[in-house]
Symmetry: C2
Subunit: 79 residues, 2 copies
C-alpha cells in the first residue's frame, strides 16, 4: 500500500529556499510571480493490507521522524 506524504513549512515560517527559487524565476523574466514555497515529498510503500492501520503507521513515521511539527505541517494521501 502506497502513500504520499507532503511536508510544508507552516504559513508564518520563513522559507529561504523558496525565496531563492522565486528570486531566480524573477531574474529569468517571470514577472507575475507572487510566491514560491518549497517543501518535501515522500512516497512510502508499506507491506500492509489494512488501510487504516497503514495510515496510522505513516502518521507515526511523520510524527517521529519525517516532520518537525514545530515549524512544519504534513498531509498524507493514499496513491
Amino acid at each position: 500500500m502506497k502513500f504520499s506524504v507532503t511536508v510544508t513549512l507552516k504559513k508564518d515560517v520563513l522559507d529561504p529556499q523558496g525565496k531563492v527559487v522565486s528570486q531566480t524565476l524573477r531574474n529569468m523574466g517571470i514577472d507575475n510571480l507572487n510566491q514560491v514555497r518549497q517543501g518535501k515529498f515522500f512516497e512510502i510503500d508499506l507491506k500492509e493490507q489494512d488501510q487504516s492501520k497503514a495510515e496510522s503507521q505513516v502518521k507515526q513515521m511523520c510524527e517521529k521522524l519525517l516532520v518537525n511539527q514545530i515549524i512544519e505541517d504534513f498531509k498524507i494521501n493514499k496513491i
Copy 2:
C-alpha cells in the same frame, strides 16, 4: 492562482536520501516497510487569471529551473 509541483526521481534512479530514511525507519522498529522515496515539493502562487496560461507558465518553470528531466519526473496540480 496556486499550483503545487511534485518532483520525484524516475523509477530507475537510485535515491540515497530515501534509502537513509527507510533504513532509519526500520531501525526504529517499523518492519513492514517496502520502500521510501524522497522528492521535492513546490507551492507556486501566480498573479494570473487564465488557468491554461498559468499552467503552461508553471510547466516552463519546471522545465527550465525546478526539474532535472534526465533523472526526475514532475506533476503539476492546481490547488
